[in-house]
């Protein structure tokens, strides 16, 4: 089941926009790559991105390729429609990424809501939304 988009309502897709310091994240996603911001100096991951490392106050930041792997930290299942583009029921998952301290809000590309569990291993898969955007969704990790 997972999330099915009702493409009739594609015009209502919320196109991501970015602050100047977030552009690296969203530009990579457009290219079907998942990257996270990291401080070059103290190696702290910063997500959602920031203009400066909050920890060591360095401006020397980099974009690091993600392993794309994570574990389900929490989730919800929409059972009543709030947005016509998103057919219910569908899951929104909060994924603890392998990169320390990074969590992503996303959707499931495969599987059923009742199969989700805390700590479930998942991996990223890019889902084309419209001509411009693909989004990082997740599926159960392949063994």
């Amino acid at each position: 089941m997972a999330l099915e988009l009702n493409k009739r309502y594609l015009q209502y897709f919320y196109e991501p926009v970015a602050e100047s310091f977030e552009e690296g994240f969203w530009q990579a996603i457009k290219q079907k790559r998942l990257v996270f911001q990291r401080c070059k100096k103290c190696k702290e991951f910063l997500h959602p991105p920031r203009p400066m490392c909050y920890k060591c106050h360095s401006y020397d930041l980099e974009w690091v390729e993600s392993s794309g792997k994570g574990k389900i930290y929490s989730w919800v299942v929409f059972t009543r429609e709030v947005h016509p583009l998103y057919r219910v029921p569908f899951e929104v998952v909060l994924v603890d990424m392998e990169e320390k301290g990074v969590r992503l809000i996303s959707n499931m590309a495969e599987g059923k809501p009742e199969d989700l569990y805390f700590g479930m291993p998942v991996e990223v898969v890019f889902m084309p939304i419209n001509d411009e955007w693909s989004l990082p969704w997740f599926r159960p990790a392949k063994k």
Partner: protein, 391 residues
């Protein structure tokens, strides 16, 4: 130095709470403000300060300005005005700012107000209409993660997992609030109590939340008048003294989706509580009745834990069966029905009920009330307030 007993709430007013108010936000704000002035026994022209709700991120959550109200009430000029931000997190902060102003002579009478028209207006809460396209929501909205119910459902599922809290326990919060509302003619759910069967039969909105886990969506306005104890002596009502008031952000607060810190809880309320207990020297055991911000059922036991009423893991069991949170219990909550069952005015109707408990005029009046705790919205930076008898 603290603000203890240097200011008090001397007037409360509200409109009716309805699904269709038939008038604009400004109109309702004026009605509630006039009612608060009449309640206090002041002429609206005496108001010289105002605190309105401000913004939450880039979401405009209050469309009625202090000048809208001032020109309708015939207030010649305001010499103090400020916004308390973060939606429902602002409710007790409005009183905090008003108290600071009157205690320091910046204003004599401060009007705090909130007017909402989500039931029949153009902006419905819980619907992704007029959501600003901005960087913050880009991590949320493109995934269809588009309602306050879902944002709080996410932290609730994790909290239930970590503490072992159950759906039954959430159901009891909803049932007790509904019982309180059933006695309250102002409440949307006046005369309509609910059983556990009703709770489970209600539509699943966003698992784990059913519709009966979520607050009402209604039109209405609430206004408060804050002044000094000296001025209060000459007014109509017994003053509700502001014993303490606090507001707080927490580590990595992120509007409604503070999901990027170790634990996705309500740390903003933990911080607010620490500040409030430190400021007043009081503790949870001194609170005779609490008006918990109850936009969603789970937030009641979560706040009990965050504020230290119980240990982590005990909030859910505390609500089980409802007896301990009923008016006859050890910790009566939301005696007018709360936002689950009286009305959703972003927490301002919790403050008016707190004032009535201090005055001794509540419909579900708790005996010998010395202190009332009122709390603000969760998922955002928030605030809390202790009202007292001035002793």
């Amino acid at each position: 130095m603290t603000i203890k007993n240097k200011a008090c709430i001397v007037g409360i007013g509200s409109t009716e709470f309805s699904r269709v108010s038939g008038r604009s936000e400004i109109h309702m704000a004026v009605d509630a403000s006039m009612a608060a002035c009449h309640d206090a026994g002041i002429n609206p022209e005496e108001i010289d300060g105002a605190v309105k709700f401000g913004t939450a991120g880039q979401n405009c959550t209050e469309f009625t300005t202090e000048t809208d109200v001032a020109r309708c009430l015939g207030i010649r000029n305001l010499r103090y005005f400020v916004e308390a931000p973060w939606g429902g997190g602002a409710c007790c902060a409005t009183v905090l700012h008003a108290a600071l102003a009157v205690a320091n002579g910046m204003a004599n009478y401060v009007l705090c107000f909130r007017s909402l028209k989500p039931a029949s207006g153009t902006v419905r809460y819980g619907r992704p209409t007029r959501v600003p396209i901005d960087a913050h929501w880009s991590y949320t909205m493109p995934f269809g993660f588009a309602s306050p119910t879902s944002w709080v459902a996410m932290i609730t599922r994790r909290w239930m997992h970590d503490t072992g809290a159950t759906n039954d326990q959430l159901g009891w919060v909803a049932i007790v609030c509904r019982e309180n509302a059933a006695r309250n003619p102002r409440a949307i759910f006046y005369g309509r109590p609910m059983t556990m069967e009703d709770y489970y039969k209600s539509q699943m909105m966003c698992d784990p939340f059913r519709i009966n886990d979520t607050c009402l969506e209604n039109d209405g306005s609430v206004a408060l008048i804050v002044t000094t104890p000296e001025r209060a002596k000459h007014l109509k009502q017994k003053p509700a003294y502001i014993v303490g008031a606090a507001e707080a952000t927490a580590w990595d607060s992120y509007c409604m989706t503070s999901y990027y810190r170790d634990y996705i809880g309500i740390q903003e309320m933990e911080e607010t509580g620490k500040e409030l207990w430190k400021q007043t020297g009081l503790s949870p055991k001194n609170m005779d009745v609490v008006q918990f911000y109850d936009a969603f059922t789970s937030l009641v036991p979560m706040q009990m834990e965050a504020l230290g009423f119980v240990k982590v893991g005990e909030g859910g069991p505390f609500c089980e069966g409802g007896d301990r949170i009923r008016p006859t219990g050890e910790l009566p909550i939301n005696t007018a029905g709360g936002m689950l069952s009286e009305a959703y005015i972003h927490g301002m109707n919790l403050i008016t009920e707190g004032v009535r408990q201090i005055r001794g005029t509540a419909i579900t009046q708790i005996k010998n009330v010395e202190h009332v705790l009122v709390t603000g919205g969760l998922g955002v930076p928030t605030s809390a307030l202790i009202l007292g008898q001035g002793r």
